[in-house]
């Protein structure tokens, strides 16, 4: 199980690297789709069918939005010469990556090994959840019953985002 997921995550890393370095923006968007759809397979292997369904829908919508934006504008990647500012950003990137590796070393001592989740918190939710929530699917029980207010807030965020997108796209804007 761990081997299969590792192979898929390696594939995701390759797709992300290609998306970052592609010359054509449309190919970069499609390569970004590799990452999202591989994540669906990972969720299925990790026994999370609800997540897989939601992720496949969301990834498709995201791809459609991104392809629409790219086709409505330019596909040319902005490549300039590798000047001093590019050196500064590359140096910053390496520095921040090293700092994060140090955090990984600190944190990995406290992580439980893969596949040995103790269910310390989840037991209170899992035991007798069907009687308390009336939902056979435990994830649905948590989302719509134990954390109903959170889901209400999520719906509010979605509505706000849709209103924001409509407002931004309908603005006339100042002439420059």
């Amino acid at each position: 199980m761990e081997l299969a997921i590792s192979v898929i995550v390696g594939f995701m890393i390759l797709g992300a690297l290609y998306a970052i370095h592609a010359r054509d923006i449309l190919s970069a968007v499609i390569a970004g789709g590799i990452v999202g759809y591989s994540l669906v397979i990972c969720f299925l292997l990790l026994k999370a069918p609800d997540l897989a369904i939601v992720q496949i829908v969301v990834e498709t919508i995201t791809l459609i939005i991104m392809v629409a934006v790219v086709l409505d504008s330019s596909r040319v990647e902005a490549y300039g010469k590798f000047d001093s500012r590019a050196w500064v950003t590359a140096g910053t990137a390496v520095l921040i990556l090293l700092i994060f590796f140090w955090f990984l070393r600190l944190a990995s001592a406290h992580l439980a090994p893969f596949g040995e989740n103790t269910m310390r918190m989840a037991d209170a939710y899992v035991n007798g959840a069907v009687d308390r929530t009336g939902s056979v699917n435990l994830v649905t029980g948590v989302i719509f019953d134990f954390r109903g207010y959170d889901t209400l807030g999520e719906a509010t965020v979605l509505v706000t985002a849709v209103l924001g997108v409509l407002t931004i796209l309908r603005l006339r804007g100042k002439k420059v």
Binding site: L17, A19, G80, V130, N137, V139
Partner: protein
């Protein structure tokens, strides 16, 4: 442990893209790669060996279910991620219509 490290490397790949790229669309793609690696990490934490999907079988209710709490959290986060990505792309297309480029350096030079 290998899979945690690979997941972290995926996060760092997205971070590298956000820092070094100049094209706004590529920055948006890198942000969503970082987002995906966080989702994957939470789903990995919830897994346990021999676990079954957290859907109760009424005939045999005591089974080693995988942890449903990280899955519920990731489900919320995925939908919020879609909302932020849609908002980001709307802002990016407005910037393109105003300046005619995706290059953040040129946009900075055109200001004022």
């Amino acid at each position: 442990m290998t899979v945690y490290r690979l997941c972290f490397i995926l996060f760092l790949t997205g971070l590298y893209g956000v820092i070094t790229r100049r094209n706004l669309i590529k920055i948006a793609i890198s942000l969503s790669v970082m987002e995906f690696s966080c989702f994957l990490f939470l789903a990995l934490i919830g897994y346990r060996d021999g676990g079954v999907a957290p859907i109760v079988d009424m005939a045999d209710p005591v089974k080693p279910y995988v942890d449903p709490l990280p899955q519920a959290m990731v489900l919320t986060a995925i939908v919020i991620g879609l909302a932020t990505t849609a908002m980001l792309m709307a802002v990016i297309i407005r910037i393109y219509r105003k300046y005619g480029t995706f290059d953040i350096r040129e946009i900075k030079n055109l200001r004022g």
